[in-house]
């Protein structure tokens, strides 16, 4: 670690990553976005995923056969419900981070919002895909323009819009402010998604959980455990994505500094001949 340079390495040095320095750094875990805490969290998450998969696909009983229930298709809900719940959490974090950035101008909150938005986008896209797969055997169609589905698709578009605004070329503060304004809109949209099954006539079923859960026993435990594991996975992804955004910000800042220094050096070199007084002239005077 001590042999690593104290300045940003140029892009061309990324090609050769198998140097002795990198190997030493890899060995003590100092390269990358991982840390001791995230490695423990990752191991817990992997173990939890294995147990949740066993509970959902093997241990828990199927729902009654249609038309009274969903049969084995109910096993899709053990992944669908946790994923959509974490998508909502991600949207909430993005809105919180955006509000806090607009209020405090804190880079920490800006990065939190950005990292959370991308993880939420992945989870929301998965929600739509899994939901479509669930809908085909349940409703007989992959997609219907139902209030819940349409508002969820709108939520995905809003998240993509947030990420697109972050990639627009602009000064860091301007970019953060623009994206924060989009980020503030996420939680109101999540509220619309959540209430859509009650506000409009909907094919989508109402809430399975809540104050009076509609499932019990091992099915309820399996679903709650899957939600716990999804929370662990979301936390692991969020922490690593946060650190990745931090690295990107550091590199952008260093590369900007380097470009300014280069321009100043070029300007100084270009103006040098005009400021030099010829020796013969000065000598004669």
């Amino acid at each position: 670690v001590t042999s690593q340079p104290s300045a940003i390495r140029p892009d061309d040095q990324l090609v050769d990553t198998d140097t002795d320095t990198d190997t030493d750094a890899d060995a003590d875990g100092s390269v990358g976005t991982g840390s001791r805490a995230t490695r423990i969290l990752g191991l817990l998450t992997l173990a939890g995923i294995a147990l949740a998969t066993y509970l959902a696909l093997v241990a828990s009983p199927p729902s009654p056969a249609p038309p009274d229930g969903m049969g084995d298709v109910v096993r899709i809900l053990y992944v669908h419900v946790p994923i959509v719940t974490m998508a909502y959490v991600g949207c909430g974090l993005t809105t919180l981070g955006s509000v806090m950035y607009l209020w405090k101008k804190s880079v920490w909150w800006d990065i939190t919002a950005a990292a959370s938005a991308e993880v939420a986008m992945v989870f929301t896209a998965l929600t739509l895909v899994i939901g479509m797969i669930w809908a085909r055997p349940t409703w007989g169609a992959w997609w219907v323009w139902d209030g819940r589905l349409t508002s969820t698709a709108m939520l995905l578009l809003l998240l993509l819009g947030y990420l697109a605004v972050r990639r627009l070329p602009a000064e860091a503060a301007t970019r953060s402010k623009r994206s924060a304004i989009v980020g503030v809109l996420l939680v109101p949209n999540v509220y619309i998604v959540n209430r859509s099954v009650t506000w409009w006539r909907s094919l989508h079923q109402g809430s399975t959980l809540g104050l009076q859960p509609k499932i019990e026993g091992l099915m309820f435990f399996s679903l709650m455990f899957a939600m716990f594991v999804a929370a662990l996975l979301f936390a692991w992804l969020l922490i690593h994505r946060w650190r990745l955004v931090w690295l990107e910000e550091q590199l952008d800042a260093h590369e900007l500094d380097r470009a300014i220094l280069e321009r100043r050096a070029e300007a100084a070199a270009g103006s040098t001949p005009a400021t030099i007084v010829p020796p013969t002239t000065s000598g004669s005077i």
Binding site: A7, Q13, T17, S30, V73, I76, H240
Partner: protein
């Protein structure tokens, strides 16, 4: 397609997407962190 076919498709796509996303984050993090001085990586 049977019920288990839909169940397998949903779980398979979820696993594939999340594994791919996690790998992308790790690989990109390792690539970028090599270009940033250790003192700027507060978590190490």
């Amino acid at each position: 397609m049977s019920d288990w076919g839909y169940v397998s498709m949903a779980w398979g796509i979820t696993a594939a997407v999340l594994v791919a996303y996690a790998i992308w984050i790790i690989v990109r993090g390792r690539a970028l962190s090599r270009r940033v001085p250790p003192e700027d990586r507060r978590w190490t």
